[in-house]
């Protein structure tokens, strides 16, 4: 192994995990390890203790409430999301997104919670959570708290948790007939991504949430949302309403694409995501 020496602990209960996190300097939760282990291999983070939360039963359930809201445990893997009949029933587009995340190896291990906490700009789920106004359930030895998805992501690889806190699960509100569009410009993983949650009736858009990903902080596009509300569901109207999607975002430049290109792509993926939602939602 190429990791620096690190201690490893797999607690049996959530409480033991929280205890370890609060009592050990340099402790860090380990979920699927699909990002964290790579970082440790690069020796780019100093971690003293890995607290393996991947088998904590408390984090591993998907619950659908009567009203259609869904609570997904932080430790649920992409594969479990992709194959859960309950999730498929209530949130088909989300299980389709999970089913097409990376490859089978990563899907078998990578977790919904790890994906959100890690907040790599390439990660699929941060803009999904933001578009859906998800509620992030957080716990620590000091008690529980909920964080709105819009406040959870604080920067490149950063979130609002303190080192002793764990994300336990995420509640996604009932879709109530809304559809989810999910579109990206695939370069490597993705260079630009948008998620749209749209309600329509009689050829008009009733409401639309639009979030942009591949950013240090996934962002809603309020101007676009306002322009979409009440607009007809035609391609022309959607193109016009999403034209300003890049307003206020600050994408990165890397080997895949420049910030300029990503700015230009914001309206492209936003338009495509909204149209996909109008046409019935993301199928993968």
């Amino acid at each position: 192994m190429l990791l620096a020496a690190v201690d490893y602990y797999r607690p049996d209960t959530l409480d033991e995990a929280l205890e370890a996190l609060v009592s050990t300097e340099g402790a860090r939760p380990l979920a699927g390890g699909q990002s964290l282990v790579s970082i440790l291999k690069l020796r780019a983070a100093s971690v003293e203790l890995l607290v393996d939360i991947s088998r904590l039963e408390d984090l591993r359930t998907i619950e659908v409430a009567d009203d259609g809201a869904v609570r997904i445990g932080a430790g649920v893997t992409y594969d479990e999301m992709a194959t859960s009949p309950d999730l498929h029933q209530s949130y088909a587009s989300l299980s389709n997104i999970a089913a097409h995340t990376v490859d089978a190896q990563v899907r078998n291990r990578g977790t919904f919670g790890g994906n959100l906490c890690h907040n790599d700009p390439i990660n699929n789920f941060p803009p999904v959570a933001v578009a859906l106004d998800a509620v992030m359930h957080v716990t620590s030895k000091n008690g529980d708290r909920d964080i709105a998805a819009g406040d959870f992501f604080t920067g490149y690889f950063a979130n609002a948790l303190s080192p002793d806190e764990l994300l336990t699960g995420v509640t996604l509100p009932a879709l109530d007939g809304r559809s989810i569009g999910y579109q990206e410009v695939e370069i490597g993983e993705a260079a630009a991504r948008a998620v749209a949650v749209v309600a329509t009736s009689n050829g008009n858009i009733e409401s639309a949430n639009v979030a942009l990903g591949c950013l240090p902080i996934p962002m809603r596009a309020p101007g676009v949302e306002a322009a979409l509300a009440g607009a007809p569901t035609t391609a022309e109207a959607v193109a016009e309403a999403t034209a300003s999607a890049a307003d206020g975002i600050e994408p990165l430049t890397d080997a895949d694409a420049s910030a300029d290109y990503r700015l230009a792509m914001a309206s492209v993926v936003a338009k495509r995501a909204v149209m996909e939602a109008i046409e019935g939602g993301h199928h993968g």
Partner: protein, 824 residues
């Protein structure tokens, strides 16, 4: 050259059949043996410390903390290496003798990110890694030079003081009369700049080396996946002050090479020094990030001020341009690339007047090394861009312009302006075939239908040449003093004690199927099944046949390796027949070999199995005349040497390569106007490599080369930031094409046998980088006339999107035409 047997044997020839590969079973059952699978008693593990800077002075290196770590065996730093060794051999010092000084480890100054400056050896790989973190290197950063064209400017910062400038090699290639042609032409098409990008065909197995400098015997056993160990030995032996006889190079299975794995010789040398210091074997397995930063990149080349004289009917007379090849920080195998492109000066076209002002420069980037299609594909990509732009600018049909300018079937053997002799081919037929395979007319119709839909269609053609079997004499064009010329390969064919047939090759394949094709040609000569012929897997210098050129590189096995096998097996056959004839009391021409027996022709009853022949020679030799018993060894070595002459170094003229395979590719792509993303809708290849020894192996090479070329055209590029930091030094960011990124490839073939190779076969391993040409061509077609030109070989979405959105002035499109009778 010896042709395959004319003996009347009852079997159909094995040669030419798509026999399943002998190698596959062990590879598919994970029973292959790669370097990392090997071990030696008391081996330690090495870890390199590499420069995080692209250019810096090494102020100090402190290994004390590392050496104090429990489990650390020893360390090695550049100053020690400098004291123990000489600088590495350079191919082409300047006329005044000045040259760069490169040692096996960085000394004083590091010149690219990832350059090795120190080594640590420990009991485990983990400890070695930890210890490497404890080696403290103090650097003083220096200015970074990344532009291969600017590096040639006289006032540029000089990377190697001892060289005096950043010019690795410079020369004017001038054939025919380009000034006359430019005068004479009806049109001169001018292209400002074309750029071939830096990438690697990325072997899936990184470099790995296990070496033991035996303190008792002074022998250096090197188990490695280096693909051209004899070249490595020739370069590092003198530097280390050791004889080549001290080296025993060994390899079995290698997970891809593509030329990149020629480059590991400096690490072989320094690891040997580390082993000597430790008195123990040492193993090193490269990480992907090390491989991307320092394992070797393909050559990046910029073409400037291109002028192409064209007659009114579309006949191209030649071209003139300046080329700048960026070799990176050190010359590994380079500057050979500065002449290797001239194997294909006119490409597939009848261009007569050519002038190339060629400069190879040094920059603060990873050293450039051969990469599948080495140096020729850069040049043919340039020519294919030229012909498409000529067609576009003069409103000619790209198919007709190609056919008009192609070397025609009746022109072969065709002598190029610089004296290369193209052996055979039928390019117009290949083009017709490949266009039919993509339904050219249907594709053109689709293009019209899709116009205005936001998804444009583009149709691209790429004709390429895969020149094989180098005349190493071309290196003298770089430096007339070099003691290299010709080429060749060796093989030993033998009967073992119980009559088993075995071949030992000089090659060390990386997936090319030599065990299979070697046994096929041997089987035809010996009249037996290839199943019963063992081809020693891999290479072992202590018993394999070899010469200085031995290795597997540069598309030559089908000629050099196969002819060495044929020669050795023919000798073995002659010995078997001689012994049998003696035993039968018959004449030699009355004996034939069938089914592993020597027989009197026409009398299956009178037969001696090979075990009987072996018995007489190895264990029962008083049954033979004494003279014969001493002479016949049943261990027959043959060296195949192609007929080459020395080139005229003044005129840079001569036959540089024995065979020329061609590949004609065609693609239909869809370009998304909003994103610039290119999707391949249809892809077809017609291959012509003369006589195919095993068509399935050929098809595998075609698929592999096409996949790598598509990856390079659309996905893969090494990108440095302005500080010389490589931005994509792992597979998350370097997007090597995987199976899902490569479309279904339709293949077909024609066979134009080579008159020069004995068997009619030609080397064909590199595919000439044809997808790069083809996809650039298709994108150009999708853009249409009046737009900026496709001027880069790498076309990821953003670059295409910028081309789609380009709306600059007409004189900034990058191309212009000056026509007779009009002012330009």
């Amino acid at each position: 050259m010896t042709a395959p047997t004319t003996e009347k044997v009852a079997t159909t020839p094995w040669t030419g059949q798509s026999l399943p590969r002998k190698e596959d079973e062990r590879l598919l059952k994970a029973q292959g043996s790669f370097v990392d699978d090997e071990g030696m008693y008391r081996q330690g593990y090495a870890e390199f410390v590499r420069s995080p800077y692209a250019h810096a002075r090494i102020v100090s290196i402190d290994v004390s903390a590392a050496e104090a770590l429990a489990g650390v065996i020893t360390t090695l730093i550049g100053d020690e290496v400098k004291a123990m060794t000489e600088p590495l051999f350079q191919f082409a010092p300047k006329e005044d003798g000045s040259q760069m000084n490169e040692y096996l480890l960085g000394v004083d100054i590091v010149r690219y990110q990832g350059e090795a400056v120190a080594l640590v050896m420990a009991e485990t790989r983990e400890i070695a890694r930890d210890a490497a973190d404890l080696i403290e290197v103090e650097y003083e950063p220096l200015p970074v030079l990344l532009d291969g064209v600017a590096a040639a400017e006289p006032d540029s910062y000089v990377l190697h003081d001892s060289l005096g400038d950043n010019i690795a090699w410079k020369g004017l290639f001038d054939w025919g009369d380009i000034e006359w042609a430019l005068e004479e032409a009806d049109h001169v098409v001018k292209i400002d700049k074309l750029h071939f990008h830096r990438y690697s065909s990325t072997p899936i197995e990184c470099n790995a080396i296990l070496v033991n400098w035996d303190p008792g015997t002074d022998m250096i056993r090197v188990v490695s996946n280096n693909q051209f160990p004899m070249f490595g030995a020739l370069v590092i032996g003198p530097s280390m002050g050791v004889g080549v006889d001290q080296f025993d190079f060994v390899s079995q299975d290698i997970g891809g090479g593509f030329g990149i794995k020629i480059n590991s010789y400096t690490h072989i040398g320094v690891l040997a020094l580390l082993s000597r210091k430790a008195g123990r074997p040492v193993k090193w397995t490269e990480t992907r990030t090390e491989h991307h930063q320092s394992g070797g990149h393909g050559n990046e080349r910029t073409f400037l001020d291109i002028e192409v004289p064209v007659m009114a009917d579309g006949t191209m007379l030649g071209y003139k341009m300046r080329a700048f090849d960026d070799a990176g920080a050190y010359l590994h195998y380079e500057p050979l690339g500065a002449v290797i492109w001239s194997q294909v000066v006119p490409g597939p076209y009848k261009l007569k007047h050519v002038q190339v002002d060629y400069t190879e420069t040094l920059t603060n980037k990873c050293p450039a090394v051969p990469n599948r299609g080495y140096s020729r594909m850069q040049h043919i990509w340039f020519l294919e861009r030229v012909i498409d732009l000529v067609a576009q600018e003069l409103e000619l049909d790209p198919v007709e312009v190609r056919k008009l300018n192609y070397i025609q079937p009746e022109d072969y053997p065709y002598t190029t302006p610089n004296g290369c002799v193209y052996d055979s081919g039928d390019l117009p037929t290949a083009l017709d075939m490949v266009l039919e395979m993509i339904d050219y007319e249907g594709a053109k119709q689709l293009k019209e239908e899709r116009a205005g839909s936001g998804k444009r269609i583009g149709i691209g053609i790429g004709t390429t040449l895969d020149s094989g079997t180098n005349n190493f004499g071309q290196s003298r064009i770089l430096n007339p003093e070099l003691p290299f010329s010709g080429n060749g390969e060796a093989c030993t064919a033998l009967l073992d004690l119980y009559g088993e047939v075995m071949l030992k090759l000089g090659t060390n394949p990386q997936g090319q199927g030599h065990e299979t094709t070697g046994s096929q040609v041997a089987a035809d000569i010996l009249g037996m099944s290839p199943e019963n012929i063992r081809v020693w897997a891999g290479f072992d210098k202590s018993h394999s046949a070899y010469i200085g050129f031995s290795g597997t590189y540069a598309s030559q096995f089908a000629v050099t390796g196969i002819n060495a096998i044929i020669g050795a097996v023919e000798k073995l056959k002659a010995e078997i027949i001689e012994v049998a004839a003696h035993a039968f009391g018959a004449e030699q021409d009355q004996v034939e070999l069938v089914d592993g027996e020597a027989r009197i022709i026409g009398n299956p009853e009178a037969a001696i199995p090979f075990i009987g022949i072996a018995n007489m020679v190895f264990a029962n030799n008083s049954t033979l005349p004494h003279e014969m018993a001493e002479r016949v060894s049943l261990t027959c070595r043959h060296v195949y040497v192609p007929k080459f002459e020395l080139p005229d170094v003044e005129k840079k003229y001569g036959n540089l390569t024995l065979t020329y395979s061609s590949q004609t590719h065609a693609a239909v792509v869809e370009v998304d106007e909003e994103t610039g993303k290119v999707q391949i809708l249809d892809y077809a290849v017609v291959d012509d490599c003369g006589k195919r020894i095993n068509p399935m192996v050929v098809d595998g090479q075609v698929h592999g080369a096409t996949g790598l070329g598509i990856g390079a055209a659309l996905r893969e590029a090494f990108e440095y930031d302005e500080d010389g930091q490589l931005l994509n030094s792992n597979f998350l960011f370097y997007h090597a094409a995987t199976a899902t990124d490569v479309p279904n490839i339709k293949t077909d073939h024609i066979e134009s046998p080579s008159p020069f190779s004995g068997t009619g076969a030609k080397g064909m391993g590199e595919g000439g980088g044809a997808p790069l040409h083809t996809i650039s061509s298709a994108i150009q077609d999708a853009l249409g006339p009046g737009k900026a030109i496709v001027s880069d070989s790498h076309n990821p979405p953003e670059r295409v999107w910028r081309l789609l959105n380009w709306d600059g002035p007409a004189d900034e499109r990058g191309v212009s035409v000056a026509s007779k009778g009009t002012t330009s």
